[in-house]
């Protein structure tokens, strides 16, 4: 995913396309699957972003549904991977089924 902080408005005063916002594109490959991020594109508005996303990312039936969202509207966790942001999930081993000792002769568990 493109980090929001790296993309401003593309710079003012450099002509129309330059001002078109960046959109991130998410495609649902088929029914039953989540939308997955596939890339980005520039468009003047949401409708154009959808049309371009279809032409660019689903030329071979790669999707049954598309989401586009302005990159600047995405909030993301900080770039530093040792950030304490994910730390709380590391020390809660009791969230995993393997944490619990169950005698071997208990069926189906």
């Amino acid at each position: 995913m493109s980090g929001t902080e790296q993309h401003g408005s593309g710079g003012a005063g450099r002509g129309p396309q330059e001002g078109w916002p960046l959109y991130e594109v998410f495609v649902r490959g088929k029914r039953g699957l989540n939308h997955v991020h596939v890339g980005s594109l520039h468009a003047a508005d949401d409708a154009m972003a959808l049309g371009h996303a279809r032409d660019l990312y689903t030329r071979r039936n790669e999707g049954v549904s598309i989401w586009v969202v302005r990159s600047s509207h995405i909030a993301a966790s900080t770039r530093d991977e040792k950030d304490p942001f994910f730390a709380p999930s590391a020390d809660k081993v009791y969230r995993h089924p393997t944490f619990y000792d169950i005698p071997d002769d208990v069926p189906h568990i």
Binding site: M1, S2, G3, Q6, H7, G10, G11, R14, G15, P16, Q17, E18, G19, W20, L22, V38, G39, S40, L41, H42, A44, D45, A47, M48, L56, R59, R60, A76, T78, R79, D80, E81, K82
Partner: protein
């Protein structure tokens, strides 16, 4: 408290560990400035090549000999536009600006692949481009699917899936021509003769003269050297040429029992340098066409911007209007 230097060292150590573990670097990670610069240059150059690469084949869309060939060629050229856009998108995750990249291409400040500065003089060239040029692109790009920079690697996965169609349609086109008249067969051989050496040059200068390669390989941006990729291309292509019934224009080309690979001659590196410097047969034409296309598209971009602004104003007015008041 850590000093800025200590923090920098820690960042570097974590980056090195990511590369060493063969994990991917992602856009928001810290990365050395030189790594970022190298990637932006390589990805942009790659993107520009896809975009300029539409021209030599695009020139034949209106003159394709059948509706079937026209539809195929159209789809192929459209794919190349898509490849360019996937790659620009990847470059933007590194902080590059799309408009700036376009400007760099148009103003000649960034390069594109030398191969697209050769003319397509007959329809057989369309077939040979698919076979050689897209074939060479596949050799280059399959290893790039494991490139250390995540968005680049992912773009390459998409691209490689599409390149296989490109190569096969070219080869099939040539097979068809080879089943035709003597004149058609001669046309295929002529195209092979003209495109073979420039295609070998696509892999870049020899390793002994490729100063940036070592760093790119250490960073795992590139996985194989230019010479190794060139050899792979030759090994892949020679048996295909035999099946097709054409001769590759290299008297030194022969099977080497010992290495289990083909030996082949040396491309004319001075020609490659000339073409890279701007002095190939079509450099000026390609650049002029790209600039023209950008200028001709200006009104479309302006109209789309105006339309989007009008729609936004209408939506705002509708939102303000009291309920039931109409629009």
């Amino acid at each position: 408290m850590t000093t800025p230097d200590a923090a920098e060292e820690e960042h570097q150590a974590r980056f090195d560990a990511t590369i060493a573990r063969d994990q991917r670097v992602e856009p928001r990670d810290w990365m050395p400035e030189a790594y970022r610069r190298t990637l932006v240059r390589q990805i942009a150059q790659h993107a520009h090549s896809e975009i300029i690469g539409m021209q030599p084949e695009g020139a034949w869309i209106t003159r394709a000999p059948s509706l079937r060939r026209k539809a195929i060629l159209f789809a192929k050229v459209q794919d190349e536009a898509g490849h360019g856009l996937y790659l620009y998108s990847a470059a933007e995750t590194l902080g590059a600006d799309r408009a700036d990249l376009t400007a760099r291409l148009i103003e000649g400040r960034q390069k594109y692949s030398s191969i697209f500065n050769y003319p397509t003089v007959t329809f057989a060239d369309v077939g040979v481009i698919g076979w050689f040029v897209d074939g060479a692109a596949i050799c280059n790009q399959v290893p790039l699917c494991r490139s250390s920079y995540g968005p680049y690697a992912r773009a390459m996965v998409r691209i490689c899936k599409e390149e296989s169609f490109h190569q096969r349609q070219g080869y099939e086109l040539l097979l068809t021509m080879m089943r035709g008249t003597d004149a058609q067969r001669a046309m295929v051989q002529d195209a092979v003769d003209r495109w073979w050496w420039p295609s070998l040059m696509m892999f870049g200068p020899p390793d002994s003269d490729s100063p940036n390669s070592a760093a790119s390989m250490a960073w795992k941006i590139k996985r194989h050297s230019n010479d190794e990729l060139r050899r792979r291309f030759v090994d892949m292509t020679v048996p295909q040429a035999e099946k097709l019934g054409v001769t590759l224009p290299d008297p030194e080309l022969r099977w080497n029992e010992e290495s289990g690979r083909y030996d082949f001659g040396t491309p004319d590196w001075s020609e490659l340098q000339r073409v890279i410097k701007g002095d190939g047969p079509c450099n000026a034409e390609r650049m002029a066409r790209r600039r023209e296309a950008h200028a001709e598209g200006a009104w479309v971009r302006e109209a789309a911007t105006a339309h989007a602004a009008k729609q936004a104003r209408r939506r705002a007015r509708r939102a303000e209007a009291p309920e039931g008041a109409g629009v």
